[in-house]
């Protein structure tokens, strides 16, 4: 079994905590300051820049735009999480990567019908880590379909 099997990456956008299955993640790029090209963007599609990654330019999405989350971190100071997409690699920006956590540490968290409807298209699952609710990141809501690494 792979060492990343069953592990989650925990990160933050503003004050809000998120998790993503580590299987989906290609790499976490902490220092993006010299890699991002903000001239190459398509804001109407949520793409805020492109990023040079392993000799290829890949699209970079900022989820705070869609989620309307206030972020105190400048775009150029953010961390990029690179994912596999069906059309190639792409990345999304986060304020802070906190930890890698075993899936068994998370507890299920119920969303009432009211919250489910309000979050439709943004997120559908929330899990609890030490009683803090974390949103399960669903990359397909932000860019083309993602495949496991």
């Amino acid at each position: 079994m792979s060492k990343i099997e069953g592990k989650k990456l925990v990160f933050r956008l503003g004050e809000v905590g998120f998790l993503i299955d580590l299987n989906s993640v290609v790499e976490v790029v902490e220092d993006t300051s010299k890699l991002l090209d903000f001239e190459c963007n398509d804001i109407s599609c949520g793409i805020v820049s492109s990023m040079r990654y392993r000799q290829v330019m890949i699209p970079v999405v900022d989820p705070t735009l869609k989620l309307n989350i206030l972020s105190p971190v400048k775009l150029s100071d953010k961390t990029a999480i690179v994912l596999h997409g069906v059309e190639g690699r792409w990345a999304f920006l986060v304020d802070l990567v906190e930890n890698i956590v075993e899936a068994s540490k998370f507890n299920a968290c119920c969303l009432s019908a009211m919250l489910q409807h309000a979050a439709l298209g943004f997120y559908s699952q929330v899990k609890l880590l030490n009683d803090e609710p974390l949103i399960v990141m669903e990359p397909d809501n932000y860019y083309g379909a993602t495949v496991a690494a």
Binding site: E15, V16, L67, A118, P133
Partner: protein
């Protein structure tokens, strides 16, 4: 309704039927969350479920500081749309309805969820119908849904 819970938040006084009160907790940690329904200021966790907390400023014009809010009660009520929480300061009490008097609302009152008043010890409390309040919270959800699913490649 045999008993009512009487609460204040800021200057706003409200009454809730005891039957709809699930639990009263104090100083529950409030989390900011994206894409919440209208009239909701955040969520709290109760019994492994997320509970939306009604925005007292938005709904009732109750001006309370963050520190007051942090130390307040959260009254969890059961509605047709799930459990929701209302903030209340620490002066809450439960009384039998026979100890007070029910009054009708005047036409000029426009408070979300208010269906009448309860007079107790010379104080008037707005009686809140939690189902209409929760229904009001769902308004606008349908209009706010994303239509494209976010960032996608150009076709």
């Amino acid at each position: 309704m045999k008993k009512v819970g009487l609460f204040h938040i800021g200057e706003f006084a409200f009454a809730l039927s005891l039957e709809c009160i699930v639990k009263i907790v104090q100083s529950a940690k409030l989390y900011k969350f994206p894409s919440l329904p209208m009239l909701v200021s955040g969520v709290l966790v109760n019994d492994n479920s997320l509970v939306p907390l009604i925005d007292s400023v938005c709904v009732y014009g109750a001006k309370v500081t963050q520190s007051e809010l942090a130390s307040s009660y959260q009254v969890l009520v059961s509605t047709e749309y799930g459990v929701v929480a209302l903030p209340a300061n620490l002066s809450g009490k439960i009384v039998a309805t026979t100890k007070g008097e029910f009054l009708e609302l005047t036409d000029d009152v426009d408070i979300i969820g208010a269906v009448g008043k309860f007079l107790f010890a010379s104080d008037e409390y707005y009686i809140l119908d939690v189902n209409s309040l929760a229904k009001e919270m769902t308004q606008g959800i349908w209009q706010s849904q994303p239509d494209t699913g976010g960032a996608r490649r150009h076709q």
